[in-house]
């Protein structure tokens, strides 16, 4: 094996400069729970690794001035779980992240890594999409923002330009009566990869759904934002007809493949089933919120 250069910059500027200088042969290292596995299997062979875990912007969890949150892209699942308020406001985002792997993996795995790894089955992504989270990206040409659903470009690919680093996720402030949830279908109970994943975020006012977003994972080349499902329930009291319509929209949005993890028929049906279950949890939480 050829030698690998390991860099651990302390500032975002240094990171951007070093990453750009190493050009295409470098990889960003957050928790490494995807990258190191891929390197060991010979799938990825970077000559330089830029570890971003020492950079404050990537590891901070802050409440923003408008009442929202900003979470560093490299914050590990176990760290976010310990935050006193984040999980109360975004329980679905947190549970998506916390579903990843095991206790050991939670000590490292990050939402930034999960998103940038580009798997359509990444467990934190559907809830991030449903949350309407915005990714802040820094690169040689400065800083820009992308909606989370616009970050993945296909399996293993993102819309980050060469030299760009995902810095953080910004979550909007939440009106009263809002909450979210994430559920995945896996054949086992743990240590498995989502066959379908659904994130639902919504706001209820006197029992009426005034805002909703639905993220659907593992059923298409990228995680989907399902407008049709949200539209079907916004303005309703989440009556059965509305829910059925929204579930049908989820199934219709699926563009899955037949593979070792599930058939097209299975995934399509389960997308609807799982949507209903996720919605019920989110609504319950919002009612209590």
């Amino acid at each position: 094996m050829s030698d690998i250069r390991y860099l651990a910059p302390q500032t975002l500027d240094d990171a951007v400069a070093q990453y750009a200088a190493a050009a295409g042969a470098a990889r960003i290292l957050a928790g490494g729970t995807d990258l190191l596995v891929q390197m060991r299997s010979g799938l990825k062979k970077p000559s330089t690794i830029v570890d971003v875990k020492k950079i404050p912007e990537l590891t901070a969890i802050e409440e923003t001035a408008d009442g929202g949150f900003r979470v560093g892209a490299a914050v590990a699942g176990a760290v976010l779980e310990e935050h006193p308020t984040f999980g109360k406001v975004w329980p679905g985002v947190l549970e998506g992240l916390n579903l990843i792997g095991s206790t050991q993996i939670q000590g490292r795995a990050s939402m930034g890594g999960n998103l940038c790894n580009g798997s359509p089955a990444g467990d934190s992504v559907p809830a991030l999409v449903a949350a309407g989270a915005v990714a802040t990206i820094a690169g040689p040409d400065g800083t820009r923002e992308l909606k989370v659903e616009d970050v993945p470009a296909g399996p293993g690919k993102t819309n980050l330009k060469p030299g760009e680093i995902l810095v953080s996720f910004t979550f909007p402030a939440r009106p009263k009566g809002s909450s979210d949830a994430y559920l995945r279908m896996i054949p086992r109970t743990e240590m498995d990869i989502a066959v379908v994943g659904v994130g639902v975020s919504l706001t209820l006012e006197n029992g009426t759904c005034t805002a909703a977003r639905v993220g659907l994972g593992a059923v298409a080349p990228t995680v989907l934002l399902v407008h049709g499902a949200a539209e079907a329930i916004i303005g309703t009291k989440l009556d059965d007809a509305a829910i059925e319509k929204a579930a049908a929209a989820c199934s219709a949005a699926c563009n899955p493949i037949d593979d070792k993890r599930g058939t097209i028929a299975y995934r399509t049906k389960v997308a609807g089933v799982l949507f209903k279950r996720t919605l019920a949890i989110a609504a319950e939480r919002a009612g209590r919120a």
Partner: protein, 752 residues
């Protein structure tokens, strides 16, 4: 034996290897390292089926850092027309599985091997080996291999006068099945399929081999038998057994999958050619692509019974995948399937089918779960048709002492009926299910168990402790159990006994750890040796006291004079006698070697409760109990460990484990992410109903316990799913997509 008198037998003593394992000190094969050691890697076939036209290794040999390259030409040649059996293996097939000869027969089939100064260079060199192939069409599934125009794997195999992929058959016949079916009031016939499943040992195959210039060879490896490793390495390399010392490393699971060799002979030749010690460690992907799972199968079973529940005929046809070379466990499938029952008319037929997949290897009661799956599912339906409780149907027909089994033996005292009775009377079976989509299933199973060759040496140390050496790798807790027995026989403390596993140069021949034979067989030779030691100890005391040895008893770890002398001398402890050993005749110790017989079969009955998520097709096991006749539980914790491990593997086989092939004939799920064995959170507490009907042919009453617990599992789960859904699914695994498809098909049918 009087239970009350047992001080150590039946006690949950602390396992001697436990602390080492949890602290990381235990040395597994991949932990071995030597000065000057180089790394071996294997080049594997990119095709599932092709003729090897030529192999050019010159570029690999020229790569700096490469120390040796080996191909099949470097090994002993075993022509296909001359059988060379070794146990249940044949060296003709073993050699071709280890390194392809005329043809590659599956994707991942080893073709050549390289030793180099690093793993990376070895891998790079493998890529430089040029192989010229004539690519052939391939067959993966049984039906593909049996099709009229199927690609033929081996020109030398003929069946019914034609070239065929049926490599062998086996038949068991008892009575007259046609006459039996004619008497039946109820007949059920069904066909089933099961997928190949892997043993799933956590430790991948690994070895370090060092060959000296005079061919003296030392092997450190993880296997289920150091003597098996020695014999196979000798056969395949031509080095005599006396020159080979095979040292058993701690083993990280085997379940039958390590009863054959993949790496050791290859590393031996690489070491011989390079003059360096060679280390080889398989990746998980290599394990999943190229080491044996057990067979996939298709089978048809027909059972006839009278109104009163008497089973009058049983017929079974079992096709088992052998993988790419002959030899699937048809004996286990066809032989064990009907064995729990006293049926007058049985016809059981097995077919051994080769196809372009990795060669199967033993897996816990090889073949038996496949046969039991079909029979136990059909019995479930027979019971339903008769309106009879499925356990009562089994009890009515239970094999017992004197029953003639279709596979040959007449049973001695066995405990099958007791397993069913215990199940019937259990709180588990009596507790009603509560949920709408909950269901309960039952199934039974049989395994032959084995005796065979074992050796033991029991030595008293100078300070009055005991070292017992046996020749079987300890996979399931045999060291602790042997220590229990030795301490019991000698009447000393458990901690005074140290049990070692000898290498092939320090202990006599011992057959491998398999067939649930280790405690059965080693307890026999350890008992014989210990009894000889006790005789010696009595003799030494007699000498010291100047009395006749017949006037000495050994009790509670002491020699005591008896009769007229009983008051004359104070008793002498093991420690005192050991201290005086040299003065009384020299070291104290004895060995015993024997080909043990009398293992007798083992039986189990399982009760399984499931709950089905009918919208997602997910089956969850919510309660599970195994009732098993274990003969005598020498160490109950290990017996439970065996039972629980078997239950977990049976549930995995039933629910999610399967090999998935892509359209190019390659395994598409060669890792633990997509080859789904159950994880802890998938399982409820697995309960054990231990039944002890001592084996009359064993000094401690031991019966093998390690394999039976896998046998009933797949059928118990499937029958529970039927009870939950009212749908009989006959194809394993019951994975969510297939269960949901079955539910959907059923509701479509109901709607029509």
């Amino acid at each position: 034996m009087n239970d009350q008198s047992h001080k150590w037998i039946g006690k949950r003593t602390i396992r001697p290897d436990g602390a080492d394992k949890v602290t990381g000190r235990a040395a597994y094969a991949a932990d071995a390292t030597m000065p000057g050691m180089v790394w071996g890697k294997v080049l594997r076939s990119p095709h599932p089926h092709a003729v090897i036209k030529s192999i050019d290794t010159s570029k690999a040999e020229a790569l700096p850092g490469v120390k040796a390259v080996a191909t099949a030409a470097d090994f002993v040649d075993f022509p296909v027309d001359t059988p060379v059996p070794l146990g249940i293996q044949d060296m003709r097939w073993m050699s071709r599985n280890m390194l392809a000869k005329e043809k590659v027969l599956f994707h991942g089939h080893p073709i050549a091997a390289v030793a180099a100064t690093s793993e990376e260079i070895a891998a790079e060199a493998c890529a430089l080996i040029e192989v010229d192939y004539d690519v052939l069409p391939f067959a993966i599934e049984i039906d593909d291999a049996l099709a009229k125009d199927a690609p033929i794997l081996h020109d030398f195999i003929e069946f019914e006068g034609r070239k065929s992929n049926i490599a062998g058959t086996l038949e068991h016949k008892l009575g007259d099945v046609e006459a039996g079916f004619a008497e039946a009031d109820v007949i059920v016939e069904r066909s089933f399929t099961t997928k190949p499943v892997h043993q799933g040992y956590i430790e991948t195959h690994a070895c370090v081999v060092s060959v000296a210039p005079d061919d003296r060879t030392t092997i450190w490896s993880s296997s289920q038998g150091q003597f098996m490793v020695r014999a196979m390495t000798a056969y395949l390399t031509g080095i005599p057994q006396s020159h080979i010392k095979a040292i058993p490393a701690e083993i990280g699971g085997g379940f039958g999958g390590k009863t054959i060799v993949y790496l050791e002979p290859v590393a031996t030749i690489l070491s011989k050619k390079s003059g360096r010690p060679v280390k080889m460690v398989m990746t998980r992907e290599e394990v999943m692509r190229a080491t044996g799972p057990t067979s996939g199968s298709k089978s048809t079973v027909k059972i006839g019974a009278k109104k009163d529940g008497t089973i009058v005929a049983g017929q079974g046809t079992f096709y088992l995948q052998a993988g790419c070379l002959p030899g699937s466990p048809i004996r286990g499938a066809a032989g064990c399937a009907f064995a729990p029952y006293d049926i007058k008319n049985v016809h059981s037929f097995g077919y051994d089918v080769v196809s372009n997949r990795s060669k199967v290897a033993a897996y816990r009661a090889p073949g038996a779960p496949i046969g039991a799956f079909a029979v136990e599912c059909v019995l479930d339906e027979v019971a339903e048709k008769l309106g009879m409780d499925p356990l009562k149907l089994r009890l009515k027909n239970a094999a017992k002492e004197g029953t003639k089994a279709a596979h040959g033996p007449t049973f001695p005292r066995i405990g099958y009926a007791e397993t069913v009775e215990e199940a019937l009377n259990s709180t588990h079976y009596k507790t009603p299910l509560t949920g709408k989509y909950q269901g309960r299933g039952v199934a039974s199973g049989f395994w032959f168990n084995a005796g065979g060759e074992s050796s033991a040496q029991v030595n008293i140390t100078e300070d009055g402790n005991v070292v017992v050496t046996t020749g079987h790798p300890d996979i399931g807790g045999s060291r602790a159990s042997i220590a229990n027995i030795t301490a019991e026989l000698l009447g000393i403390d458990y901690d005074q006994v140290s049990v070692q596993i000898g290498d092939t140069a320090t202990i006599g021949y011992s057959n491998l750890t398999g067939g649930s034979r280790v405690l059965f067989a080693s307890a026999m030779v350890v008992t014989e040796s210990t009894e000889q030691v006790i005789e010696q100890l009595k003799g030494r005391a007699a000498k010291i006291w100047g009395i006749d040895p017949s006037q000495v008893v050994w009790e509670n770890g002491e020699a005591r004079p008896m009769g007229e002398h009983s008051a004359n001398f104070p008793s002498m402890s093991l420690e005192e006698l050991a201290a005086k050993a040299n003065a009384t005749g020299g070291p104290i110790g004895a060995g015993s070697q024997s080909n043990t017989v009398g293992a007798e079969g083992g039986f189990a009955t399982h009760v399984c409760d499931v709950e089905v998520d009918v919208d997602l097709g997910i089956v969850r096991v919510i309660r599970y109990t195994c009732f098993q006749d274990v003969g005598r539980a020498i160490h109950p914790s290990y017996v439970e460990g065996q039972l629980q491990g078997g239950m977990a593997q049976g549930i995995g086989w039933a629910l999610n484990e399967e090999y998935i092939y892509d359209k190019n004939g390659r395994v598409d799920n060669p890792g633990f992410l997509d080859y789904r064995m159950p994880v802890c959170s998938d399982l409820p507490m697995l309960d054990c109903g231990i039944i002890e009907i001592p084996n009359p042919k064993h000094p401690q009453g031991v019966r093998g316990v390690g394999e039976v617990p896998l046998v009933p599992g797949p059928a118990a789960v499937r029958n529970a799913v039927y009870d939950a859904l009212g749908i009989r699914i006959d194809d394993l695994p019951l994975s969510p997509p297939s269960v949901l498809a079955a539910i959907d098909a059923n509701s479509r049918q109901a709607a029509e």
